[in-house]
């Protein structure tokens, strides 16, 4: 089928009708170009939003204590709810389905110093699991472990920014050194990096929650309980939250429907919303893109119709010499496929090129970064193109196959 003769024939007809072929090809190239650009922009938006989600597992749930806003069992509003280790323990034992769970204590910024260097950093006492919930990226040493909690060890995991502030000049090795936190010595056992662009996230110090309660607080209060919902579906995650609420409302005697007694931030919900939004956007983009390509296909089909009309006599000659209808169909279809694929490929390359250029030269903004058309999109587009060419060529080819040689060869 792909014999050199056919290529020569396609080449010679294209050669004879350069402008016509160019205009046809242009409409297809434009269609693909727009599709790639749209898909790239879509992925740029998506990447931008994904960036917003960084610094925390996408299936995380954070429950913080607040103030009651509803009267309940004769108790007045405005009561401050105080979580304790007991709350953490009962959620840990009664709610199932989570894969990581941690309590946190909010102590605010504390003075941290090493030799003559010092700074004020956010102290974040927590359980070892918090490393998974917050997706803390350890670049040196380790995160907290259960022994740290059990033995009230005075160990600290410091952010990169903390490290660069405290360990300067000739003394840049932080691991194993002792830093003073509010006057108490803690040994640095790990350094982490936080990928979120929020500067504060980099200026944190993680310490064991048990140690913090004993050293800085003297009681068993916690401020937040967080867990990840594992492979749970949105409904299952909702159920886990409901269960946790029930446990807490019972322990602290508040209305389970009181949304201000405790604050729940369910990232599953956000992620689900954004996923749905982007699925919608992507669908929309494909519809528009395919619409544009269809316009191109109609153009190619139109041109091929004219080509068939112009070549009626030639087709008649071929038939009289023994061309089967199928060989005529193949001839026309192949030409259509070649024009669309070639033009489409140019559109593809230009589209991807422009995306690359934008990606390289445009600073990533809050909601738009790294527009890209990935490999699967290129493959899809290529399949689409060949299909488009085949569709564009089909009707003209059928028309060509039906050419009656007697009429085609009749002398004018």
């Amino acid at each position: 089928m792909f014999e050199i003769d056919k290529w020569q024939e396609i080449y010679s007809t294209i050669q004879k009708n350069k402008l016509r072929t160019f205009l046809t090809g242009f409409s297809v190239a434009w269609g693909i170009f727009m599709l790639i650009l749209l898909l790239g922009s879509g992925s740029g938006l998506e990447n931008g939003v994904k960036e917003q989600f960084k610094g925390g597992a996408t299936n995380g749930v954070w429950i913080s204590s607040g103030q009651t806003s509803l009267k309940y069992k004769g108790l007045k509003t405005g009561r401050q709810i105080k979580f304790t280790n007991e709350d953490y323990k009962s959620i840990k034992t009664t709610v199932d389905g989570y894969d990581h769970i941690s309590a946190r204590l909010f102590l605010g910024n504390k003075l941290v110093s090493y030799k003559n260097e010092y700074g004020s950093f956010f102290l974040s006492p927590c359980h070892p699991d918090y490393g998974f919930i917050k997706e803390v990226d350890i670049i040196q040493g380790r995160f907290l472990n259960t022994i740290d909690i059990r033995e009230f060890r005075k160990v600290a995991i410091i952010g990169e920014k903390v490290k660069s502030t405290l360990f300067k000049g000739t003394d840049t090795v932080a691991m194993g050194k002792y830093v003073k936190i509010n006057g108490v010595l803690f040994q640095v056992v790990g350094v982490f990096r936080d990928y979120s662009r929020n500067d504060d996230e980099q200026k944190r110090v993680y310490i064991p929650i048990s140690t913090a309660q004993r050293v800085f607080q003297g009681e068993n209060v916690i401020n937040q309980i967080s867990f990840t919902t594992g492979q749970a579906s949105v409904q299952e995650a909702d159920l886990m939250i409901k269960k946790s609420k029930a446990v807490l409302s019972k322990m602290h005697t508040f209305d389970i429907d009181d949304n201000r007694a405790i604050n729940v931030w369910n990232k599953n919900e956000d992620v689900r919303r954004f996923k749905a939004l982007f699925a919608g956007i992507r669908l929309f983009i494909w519809i528009i893109g395919i619409g544009t390509i269809i316009a191109g296909i109609v153009g190619v089909s139109n041109i091929m119709m004219i080509v068939v009309k112009e070549r009626t006599k030639e087709i008649g000659i071929r038939k009289s010499l023994g061309a089967t209808p199928w060989s005529i169909v193949a001839l026309i279809m192949q030409e259509a496929v070649v024009i669309t694929s070639f033009a489409g490929y140019i559109g593809l390359v230009l589209g991807v090129g422009l995306l690359e250029l934008v990606s390289k030269n445009m600073p990533p903004s809050e909601f738009f970064r790294n527009p890209e058309a990935d490999f699967s999109v290129a493959v899809m587009a290529t399949i689409l193109l060949i299909l488009a060419g085949a569709i564009a060529g089909f009707f003209p080819a059928m028309k060509a196959a039906k050419v009656n040689p007697v009429e085609a060869l009749r002398d004018e």
């Binding site: 014999e3 024939e9 007809t13 000659i317 009289s320 061309a323 089967t324 209808p325 060869l409 002398d411």
Partner: protein, 224 residues
């Protein structure tokens, strides 16, 4: 070689039906050279189209080399045309964007002969027509006589049993007409049946038998 009996053919256009062939009986032996004459509209071209399996007939029987030709699929008809028949037309009907060599080689393309071999064979046939030096010229660079010789070479390359020529000299001056007739006679001398449709008496006289058609009937068969 060709045997037709009681062939009828009508063209229906809307409400009107035009009865073009009204029961033609004809037998043409292998290696014969005959001419079909008749006024325009007499049905001679329709008869040639039916003989060339380019058109169907309504009733009757057509045997080509012993094979019954009746409402064949397009594919089968194309294969038979390719193997059994060669066409020569008044207006040459060469493919304009292909050079002489490619035009001659075209029937072999539909026989799936490899390109190299095709071109060698085509060159032989062009050489026989005395057109070796014109092999790479496009049709519009050739004279009328040369074009017709290319067309004859193309008709012959598939080694057909029958050559069907529709007014082969209609677009040529008398000197080149004679040349073309000489070639057709040479072709016939190799044993190929030649059927020529013409309205020129001189041309008809060069064949061995003349069949005259009037209003869809054979009215006269004359041996020349």
């Amino acid at each position: 070689m060709i045997k037709i009996s009681q062939i009828h053919k009508s063209y229906v256009t809307g409400q009107n039906s035009l009865h073009v062939l009204k029961g033609i009986d004809l037998e043409i032996g292998a290696g014969e050279m005959i001419s079909i004459m008749g006024a325009s509209g007499s049905g001679k071209s329709t008869l040639l189209n039916i003989l060339g399996i380019l058109d169907n007939y309504d009733s009757g029987e057509y045997l080509l080399n012993g094979l019954k030709i009746n409402r064949l699929s397009e594919r089968k008809a194309a294969q038979l045309r390719n193997k059994m028949l060669g066409f020569v037309f008044q207006s040459f009907n060469l493919v304009s964007f292909k050079n002489a060599l490619e035009n001659v080689a075209l029937p072999l393309y539909y026989q799936d002969v490899p390109r190299k071999k095709r071109n060698i064979v085509a060159m032989e046939y062009l050489d026989r027509m005395g057109l070796k030096d014109w092999a790479h010229h496009l049709p519009n660079e050739l004279s009328g006589g040369q074009k017709q010789r290319v067309a004859i070479a193309r008709a012959l390359i598939g080694k057909p049993k029958v050559i069907l020529a529709d007014e082969p000299t209609g677009a040529l001056d008398s000197a080149t007409s004679l040349e073309v007739m000489d070639i057709l006679q040479e072709v016939n001398a190799t044993g190929i049946t030649v059927i020529i449709v013409t309205h020129e008496h001189d041309i008809a006289m060069r064949t061995r038998k003349t069949i005259r058609i009037t209003d869809g009937n054979i009215t006269e068969i004359v041996s020349n």
